[in-house]
């Protein structure tokens, strides 16, 4: 029990010393309590340092005058010994190892005279090393002694077993904050203030500082900490000020998916674009990439299940790789649509399930598709979400043809024979890299006929993929034969398997989930000296969600796009700035 009680046998109660609480770490022990003996503790009390203060409650309880009731806080070196001194001037004293009844050191100091409370707290902060202090401060706040640092942790998540992501805000009007210590299991593991990314939080400012405050520009923070597996049950964030005050924020870490954690971090992406802090932007993207990369590494260790539906062609003229995410029924729709086309008979269709939620439905739909006369196909299931790049790369690793067609599941044919046209066009190219086709919306308006890149003032430092003539009725944009282009969309992209492999396929790790990885592939092919082309003669329908603009796809996807755009610009910015030759060349 946490009692240290020593009382002179037979003496009245009013000469007593009592210990309220004992807080300890491996390095030191802190004892709080009271005494009716005056300001001095017994000589052989093994204190390193002691601070006494008035305790009106003690005086009242013992019927003593105000100056006879004293509180103390004492520091002892090392962990508390089981027994501290057998006797002190006739007082018998026993000391047990202790808890503190669930109250923080600050709670125990609250009995101090109001005039002294703040200075007592300050004394503690000054005398106790930080990594010990947090351990005694399980519960929040220094109350009135707290410096004007307002803070809140919105989310504290564990990803996998070694990564922590925190998101929250700190308003530090007086610029008092010195460190933000993350304390796990009794140890300070990081000073978050050294690494966190700060960003604007208008919502915070409007509630805590409606009139605007200096030093409160970027209250938001995001931070990622790598921390080997351990217990995160007793986690706290200790905010320490330059004046030695501290505020303790208890943290409850819960497990989060990689995607959720990326979402949490990249929330700050759009505002970091506006504030223009390149370093913070880089940090955010690198954190998100590292989360994404770790998830991919783990996924790579999972067994891949390949299900064969129908007799496969011996020597497929093309392997069509179709990742599935979100909607399983697209597979049925494509297969029924493909079933009408005799030109698709010697083709290998490799559907890649990139969405574990779809597995059951896909099995059912695969059976149904075959019963409705679908061409044969395989379904490759990697047991997780690899994103567009990872899914295509997985599909490519199962492809047997020398020719790959990367195809979105929401791309539908309009007329039979289209694939043969694409194949013969590709084969007619010397040194061809990627070959794309025309894509239209379901109302016949153009969606894609090659992409160009453009800067936008709103988002400095990055390049956007622009689809020229998007939304214009297709017949108003004449085009015939082959046209040389910089970039084609990955929604329908033919490339030889050898060239795909030579450039390492789509970059799965740096481009999170999807966006810009197809442009990156085109740039890598170009870098190798292989040109990219668009076949104007083939028109497919792309059911890309057409009622929504780019920024309306949801904040999360937009932030991911920003991160990928930033990565793309980092990688290819210099190339894009350089003048280019051969653009716009056409062949009948």
């Amino acid at each position: 029990m946490d009692i240290l009680a020593f009382r002179k046998q037979g003496t009245p109660v009013h000469t007593a010393i009592h210990v309220d609480s004992i807080h300890h770490s491996s390095a030191m022990t802190l004892v709080t309590g009271w005494s009716t003996l005056g300001t001095a503790l017994p000589r052989d009390f093994p204190q390193q340092a002691v601070r006494t203060f008035r305790r009106p409650d003690v005086a009242r309880a013992h019927g003593l005058s105000a100056e006879q009731g004293w509180g103390f806080v004492a520091l002892l070196e090392g962990a508390p010994p089981p027994v501290v001194g057998p006797s002190v001037s006739g007082l018998k004293m026993t000391l047990g190892t202790t808890g503190n009844q669930g109250r923080s050191v600050w709670d125990h100091l609250r009995c101090a005279h109001p005039d002294e409370y703040a200075s007592v707290c300050e004394w503690v902060v000054q005398h106790v090393p930080r990594d010990s202090l947090f351990a005694w401060a399980e519960r929040a706040d220094l109350g009135r002694a707290c410096p004007p640092v307002l803070a809140h942790v919105d989310a504290s998540r564990v990803v996998g077993d070694d990564t922590l992501v925190l998101s929250g805000w700190v308003v530090d009007v007086a610029e008092q904050l010195e460190s933000a210590l993350l304390v796990l299991d009794g140890r300070v593991v990081a000073d978050l203030a050294e690494s966190w990314v700060r960003f604007p939080r208008p919502d915070v400012l409007s509630s805590v500082a409606p009139d605007g405050l200096a030093g409160a520009d970027d209250p938001g923070f995001k931070v990622l900490v790598r921390q080997p597996a351990g217990s995160w049950a007793a986690a706290t964030l200790l905010l320490c000020t330059k004046t030695g005050q501290a505020q303790n924020i208890p943290l409850g870490f819960t497990q989060a998916s990689t995607q959720f954690a990326i979402e949490l971090l990249l929330e700050a992406m759009i505002s970091s674009m506006r504030t223009g802090n390149e370093q913070w932007r880089r940090t955010l993207v690198e954190w998100a990439q590292s989360l994404w990369g770790s998830a991919l590494v783990k996924l790579g260790k999972r067994p891949v299940r390949k299900t064969v539906h129908g007799p496969q062609p011996d020597r497929p003229k093309c392997s069509v790789i179709i990742p599935l995410y979100g909607r399983a029924d697209f597979m049925l729709h494509q297969l029924v649509a493909f079933s009408a086309d005799p030109g698709l008979r010697d083709v290998e269709f490799v559907f890649v399930n990139d969405d574990p939620r779809l597995s059951g439905e896909l099995e059912q739909l695969a059976r149904e598709a075959l019963s409705l006369g679908a061409p044969s196909f395989v379904v490759v299931d990697g047991g997780g979400n690899r994103g567009y790049s990872g899914a295509n790369n997985l599909g490519a690793s199962h492809a047997r043809s020398e020719l790959l067609l990367l195809l979105n599941s929401d791309v539908m044919p309009r007329t039979p024979g289209w694939l043969d046209q694409v194949i013969s066009a590709y084969q007619s190219l010397e040194g061809g890299g990627a070959l794309g086709v025309r894509l239209v919306y379901d109302d016949g308006c153009l969606q894609h006929a090659g992409m160009v890149q453009r800067r936008m003032d709103q988002y400095p430092g990055i390049w956007w993929n622009v689809h020229p003539d998007r939304g214009v009725p297709e017949h108003m944009v004449p085009g015939k034969g082959l046209r040389r282009v910089d970039l084609v969309t990955g929604a329908c992209l033919m490339v030889s398997a050898a060239k795909y492999a030579a450039v390492g396929g789509l970059d799965a790790e740096r481009y999170i989930i999807g966006d810009f990885e197809d442009s990156d592939l085109c740039m890598k092919l170009k870098e190798k000296g292989w040109q990219n082309w668009l076949l104007e003669d083939v028109v497919l329908v792309h059911l890309e969600r057409q009622s929504q603009g780019f920024a309306d796809r949801g904040a999360f996807r937009f932030n991911v796009t920003l991160a990928n755009a930033w990565e793309y610009a980092r990688r290819w910015g210099a190339t894009l700035e350089a003048p280019r030759a051969g653009e716009g060349e056409t062949r009948p």
């Binding site: 029924d329 697209f330 049925l332 729709h333 029924v336 649509a337 079933s339 009408a340 059912q364 059976r367 149904e368 019963s371 409705l372 006369g373 929401d410 539908m412 379901d442 109302d443 329908v541 059911l543 969600r545 057409q546 009622s547």
Partner: protein, 401 residues
């Protein structure tokens, strides 16, 4: 194959399918009728029998959006086995609902050389709004479907979903060799939607031969002022429009004209519609008598007592059975001037037309019809006889080879 059997549901299309089957058999064809039902069967069997040669296929169309029945391996196996057993030269499907579009692909896979013929009965594939081609909400008539327009009617489904719906249905209908449309209007709608025009043939639903009724004898000075409404009472059939037209008759006509309504299923309609019809009926009780539902066998007696049958539907219709029946018995029709009605009721030949959904237009047509006794005699004299079952079956036989 039919989407339902008349013993279980008496819709016009079920009756037409069954009549066609009877006639085929009468003409010596070896045929079997397989009608879909979602009712459970004995012991969960895939088939049961209604009458000799008339099977029920116990299946359910689990996805009404795409007309597909899923998770139905047993039905697929049993149905394919039945096809193997019968090995028909021709499979004639009436409708694609209930049987499901899967069936078409199954037939083709088991019988690569068989002739597949399908009779289209309304616009379900084109329009998700019960195949009415009437806009949701505003109930405006719809001229063409498109992913964007259908999304307007059903905002919860994306244009892409409607694109895929059409693609899916057309993808499976490609196994059909010939489509039969009872009206040119319906054919044109399906062609505009995407069916190849060369595959669609217009063949009317044939009628069993009946004795033509003589014109109703008139008293001295009486006009042709007895009108009847026959059929379902729902918002699309326009019975309320007919009652509103009665309210707009001139006092003179109103005292001379009578209207009898032989309508079914008012009690199944939504409350506001029921109340509106009942209120109108109260207001015109001097003219209109509510007779309730009728059996086909009552038809000669009903028609003997009237001069005209009014078909005031507010949707397009295809080829309403009531028009064909009425004409068979030698009575002319007053119909809305849209869709299948406009096609089947040519003014001066089969009767009269009024501007669809316009009660005033209907009122003036009724008044003119009442007054023009001589014109009536000439009209009835030259009233064409609708195609008989024997004739239409012969036309179908042409499609089977």
């Amino acid at each position: 194959m039919a989407h339902g059997h008349p013993s279980l549901s008496k819709g016009g299309a079920e009756l037409a399918a069954h009549a066609s089957f009877d006639e085929m058999r009468r003409r010596g064809h070896d045929c079997v009728l397989v009608s879909a039902t979602s009712r459970p069967s004995h012991g969960g069997a895939t088939f049961s029998q209604v009458a000799p040669g008339e099977l029920l296929l116990h299946t359910a169309m689990s996805d009404a959006f795409l007309f597909r029945s899923t998770s139905n391996e047993v039905v697929e196996t049993d149905f394919k086995a039945l096809l193997q057993r019968l090995r028909p030269d021709v499979v004639h499907l009436h409708h694609y609902v209930n049987v499901g579009l899967n069936t078409v692909a199954w037939i083709r896979s088991v019988l690569p050389g068989a002739r597949i013929v399908m009779t289209l009965h309304e616009y379900l594939a084109i329009c998700l709004h019960n195949g009415q081609m009437v806009k949701t909400g505003t109930f405006q008539l719809c001229e063409t479907s498109s992913p964007a327009a259908c999304h307007q009617c059903f905002p919860e489904r994306s244009p892409a979903d409607f694109f895929l719906r059409r693609q899916f249905i057309l993808g499976l209908l490609r196994h059909v060799d010939r489509f039969v449309s009872p009206s040119a209007f319906l054919r044109d709608r399906y062609v505009a939607w995407g069916l190849p025009p060369e595959k669609i043939v217009v063949v009317e639903n044939g009628q069993r031969p009946v004795a033509r009724l003589p014109p109703r004898p008139l008293r001295e000075g009486e006009g042709r002022g007895r009108f009847a409404f026959l059929g379902q009472v729902n918002p699309y059939k326009g019975v309320d429009l007919l009652l509103k037209a009665v309210l707009r008759l001139s006092p003179e006509a109103r005292s001379a004209i009578s209207v009898s309504i032989h309508g079914a299923n008012l009690e199944l309609q939504q409350g506001p519609f029921q109340q509106a019809v009942k209120k109108l009926l109260d207001e015109v009780s001097d003219v209109v008598s509510w007779q309730g539902p009728y059996e086909p066998s009552h038809l000669p007696a009903i028609l003997a007592g009237v001069d005209w049958v009014v078909v005031p539907s507010t949707w397009w219709e295809n080829s309403p059975l009531v028009i064909q029946e009425t004409l068979s018995f030698g009575r002319p029709v007053i119909a809305s001037d849209i869709g299948g009605m406009a096609e089947k009721v040519v003014p001066g030949r089969h009767g009269r037309q009024f501007r669809a959904r316009d009660p005033l237009g209907l009122a003036s047509e009724m008044e003119a019809a009442w007054r023009d006794v001589d014109g009536y005699a000439a009209l009835v004299d030259g009233l064409p006889v609708p195609p008989t079952l024997a004739e239409t079956t012969k036309a179908l036989e042409q499609l089977y080879t």
